[in-house]
């Protein structure tokens, strides 16, 4: 097995060039992963608790503006708009933060893991008011757990207000609960189904399991002080999910069910395959999938042990570039290749950031934090490398670099710094034949070897 730094940077990080002294082989990458989360300190992310007041204010002002008339309504509308603008500002800052961390991280592996798990537990904002919620879920329920137990991540995610809202749990009531009886409200099985299908076992359950899981989850809600269990909305009586009986209308019962789902053998197999597909190949080596599954089962779902297995399998270091870089990864890799760092991105004016990063991401088929559904972004290269997406990638590669850096890098040097040993003959032949430096840089960034990983 050869563990070269080009493969390390493309497959487990955000591309070349790696910062000086960056780890690029398993032992040192794992040491960094075990160490402190330096990027979280350098670029702090959004916390839901800091937004509670603004969210509440937005809700109050919206209500007031609808009830009041005249001057009072006008003031309320203004206050409402201010609150929304503040929330959207937080969302934009969080997007910049994510990119800054990816650019400055030692080897990018932790950031890539965060991205993987954020996608595994996809949430999408339902409104402009909710726009920062997905980023707070990543910050609070994903990031702290990427080297921890999967069960702990699962429990944090399922209780997070962003998830409870996105998959309708906050609108689900036990039909026979006190609130359900009084207000004739009932079950909503959205979260229960995706919890089984997407988040954990993936298969081997039936409609009864979904319904029972939905009943089991009914107590979960968001109270004034954050996530809580409200027995007044919980369906009374025991529930049976995947053959196990859960009795007792309290939070511990729900958490026990989540623990059991996390430790279910099917969950290990399901998520191990997803990891192999995401990091290594759309049709992954079955030995790799098995090794990851074993590492998961043997460690009780310890995500650090799973990451170690991923980094140490020979199949993980195949030189083949079988996957396409998703638009987000492509953009980070391009910024990195052009020499931008985290501070440059944090400094970017909001409009420039939207024009040069967010709008192009959407044109390439990956609007920021807006995947098509709770199953997150697709993996297959064919989905990303379509004519329309290629037009958007080529356009970005040709137009944006000269707006981002001045002077442009020397294209001949860029070929090597951005592609390392992935540089192919055709590109090396074409770059010096471009009519302008702008187009030569564009060729490098639009090349197959830059857009694959």
């Amino acid at each position: 097995m050869t563990q070269d730094s080009t493969t390390a940077a493309f497959r487990f990080g955000y591309g070349l060039p790696l910062p000086a002294n960056a780890p690029s082989e398993p032992a040192s990458m794992l040491a960094v992963l075990r160490g402190a989360d330096t990027m979280a300190t350098k670029y702090p992310g959004p916390q839901l608790a800091d937004l509670t007041e603004t969210l509440l204010r937005a809700d109050t002002m919206l209500r007031t503006s609808r009830r009041a008339t005249g001057e009072a309504a006008k003031t309320a509308r203004q206050d409402y708009r201010q609150a929304i603008a503040r929330l959207e500002g937080v969302t934009l800052l969080a997007a910049k933060t994510t990119i800054a961390r990816a650019l400055d991280a030692p080897d990018g592996f932790r950031e890539r893991l965060v991205q993987f798990w954020a996608d595994h537990f996809t949430t999408v904002a339902r409104s402009r008011r909710d726009s920062p919620l997905p980023a707070t879920l990543v910050e609070e329920a994903i990031r702290p757990y990427v080297t921890d137990r999967f069960a702990d991540m699962l429990k944090a995610v399922i209780q997070h207000p962003a998830m409870l809202g996105y998959l309708d749990q906050s609108a689900s009531f036990g039909p026979n609960s006190r609130i359900g009886q009084r207000r004739t409200k009932g079950l909503n099985e959205n979260l229960a189904r995706e919890l089984l299908e997407l988040h954990t076992v993936g298969s081997g359950y039936g409609q009864d399991d979904v319904t029972q899981m939905a009943e089991l989850l009914t107590g979960l809600t968001v109270g004034k002080k954050g996530p809580t269990f409200d027995p007044r909305r919980a369906e009374p009586g025991p529930e049976t999910v995947l053959g196990k009986i859960y009795d007792g209308d309290k939070l511990e019962t729900v958490l026990k069910a989540l623990e059991d789902l996390a430790e279910h053998p099917a969950t290990a197999a399901h998520v191990a395959r997803k990891l192999a597909v995401h990091f290594v190949a759309d049709q992954p080596n079955e030995g790799l999938v098995q090794a990851l599954t074993d590492a998961w089962r043997n460690s009780g779902g310890d995500l650090l042990a799973v990451a170690e297995s991923l980094l140490t399998q020979p199949a993980s270091w195949s030189r083949l570039q079988e996957k396409a870089r998703q638009p987000f990864d492509f953009t980070i890799a391009a910024l990195r290749a052009l020499g931008l760092d985290g501070a440059d991105v944090m400094r970017m004016a909001d409009d420039a950031f939207r024009q040069m990063i967010l709008h192009p991401l959407a044109a390439m088929g990956q609007p920021w934090q807006r995947p098509p559904g709770p199953d997150g972004w697709p993996e297959a290269a064919e989905v990303w490398i379509t004519p329309e997406a290629m037009a958007a990638r080529i356009t970005w590669a040709m137009d944006m670099p000269s707006r981002l850096v001045n002077p442009l890098p020397d294209p001949a040097a860029l070929m090597t710094t951005a592609l390392g040993t992935h540089l192919g003959e055709r590109l090396a032949w074409a770059v010096p034949r471009s009519e302008t430096i702008r187009e030569a840089v564009g060729l490098v960034l639009a090349s197959p070897e830059f857009n694959r990983r």
Binding site: G186, R193, G373, M390, R433, A446, S447
Partner: protein, 400 residues
């Protein structure tokens, strides 16, 4: 290298690229006027997220309906058959209904059962397979398999439109994918060099070649003589998509597919289903308008979804994933003005698993009859290759 010599060597590259079917077909599109599929246009719209068929075409003639859906059946839409009424948001479609250019199928579904997963449901809808095939053996979509049965097709005969890819049209038969309003401003030299660097990577070569040729060849200012102006507002994207489809269908394109999402109405459905219904209505009306009566008369639009939703509303004024659903058909080629399919009724005992509308037909059978009626495909081909394992049943006489 001498610049002239260099260009010559690149021309060599371009020629070998031209040997690739995708490139050839695009290049030939202007000169070859023959259309292997004849004059009929088929537009397939995938409604992603599981459209609630019972809210689209409401069985308001059955008092049980209001009991199942106390908050979802409070508005009254136009009457269709005395038993069924149309969702009031779609009132604008009534002239088409009266003209026999709009129809619905009730209680239909793919062979998919029980798991009620959007993702598997959409896969099966677009693959057009039954459940008897092992996972992953069918990778192309049924519309593409139909195209594979037609010799001499060119890529622009069929278009998958929009950013969300259409697996329905994916497969070996040549198909164009495009998102309206994309431009690619490149120097001639850059185009040649891009051709060169993509040459050895099939995936990139095909995507980029098509992007490069389409940006050269597509002129979006053409409107087939129709003049409805582009609009702003929430329907602007839908309009661009529809206009692009209409423009292509007005020329050589015979098959177009795209998707409309937003149908997953788990909560507050009455508000939530309105925007996607508006988009669907807009697509139908604007397509009719932009195509003009002559082409619209040759057009059939099929709008289908992965499955229906629960008969009873859930605890949050929405509906959860169900089984039997509805299908919308429109077009001048349709013998419409009717609700097709066998209605299973709403009695609890008549429901699928006492929860969902019982499917009484296979969604693929309707598509198969449409394809047979429009393009004359063999029943055996439809039941074996295009929709493996399908039994089409009696001809419902879809075409006017």
């Amino acid at each position: 290298m001498d610049r002239r010599l260099f260009l010559k060597s690149l021309t060599g590259t371009a020629c070998s690229l031209a040997a690739h079917p995708m490139m050839t077909t695009v290049t030939l599109a202007a000169s070859d006027g023959s259309a292997p599929l004849g004059d009929h246009r088929l537009v397939v719209v995938i409604l992603r997220g599981a459209m609630d068929g019972l809210d689209l075409v409401r069985p308001t003639g059955d008092p049980l309906f209001a009991r199942y859906r106390p908050t979802l059946s409070t508005t009254q839409g136009p009457d269709l058959t005395g038993y069924f009424s149309l969702n009031p948001t779609l009132e604008g479609l009534m002239p088409l209904w009266q003209a026999g250019q709009l129809g619905f199928v009730q209680a239909t579904s793919t062979p998919y059962r029980d798991q009620r997963s959007h993702f598997d449901g959409q896969d099966i809808l677009e693959a057009g397979t039954g459940l008897d095939l092992p996972d992953g053996t069918v990778r192309d979509g049924w519309l593409n398999r139909m195209l594979q049965a037609v010799p001499g097709l060119r890529a622009q005969t069929a278009f998958a439109i929009g950013t969300s890819s259409a697996p329905l049209l994916q497969g070996p038969a040549p198909v164009s994918n495009w998102q309206p309003d994309l431009r690619l401003d490149l120097s001639a030299q850059s185009r040649l060099l891009l051709d060169h660097i993509y040459h050895d990577d099939t995936l990139f070569r095909e995507a980029a070649t098509e992007a490069l040729s389409l940006t050269e060849n597509i002129d979006l200012s053409r409107t087939n003589g129709r003049t409805s102006p582009p609009t702003g507002g929430p329907l602007a994207d839908t309009d661009r998509l529809t206009d692009f489809a209409a423009d292509r269908l007005g020329q050589d394109t015979r098959i177009a597919a795209f998707s409309l999402s937003g149908w997953d109405t788990h909560r507050n459905q009455q508000g939530g289903i309105t925007p996607p219904l508006r988009r669907l209505e807009r697509v139908v009306l604007r397509l009719a308008d932009r195509l003009g009566p002559q082409i619209w008369d040759k057009t059939l639009l099929l709008a289908m979804t992965e499955f229906g939703r629960t008969v009873a509303e859930n605890g949050s004024k929405g509906t959860d994933h169900g089984t039997g659903g509805a299908m919308l058909m429109a077009g001048g080629a349709l013998r419409g003005g009717r609700i097709m399919g066998q209605w299973p009724g709403l009695d609890e005992a008549a429901l699928y698993q006492r929860r969902d509308l019982m499917p009484t037909s296979d969604v693929r059978a309707w598509a198969a009859h449409a394809m047979r009626g429009m393009y004359g495909f063999d029943r055996a081909l439809l039941e074996s290759n295009i929709f493996p394992g399908l039994t089409m049943g009696d001809d419902p006489g879809l075409l006017a």
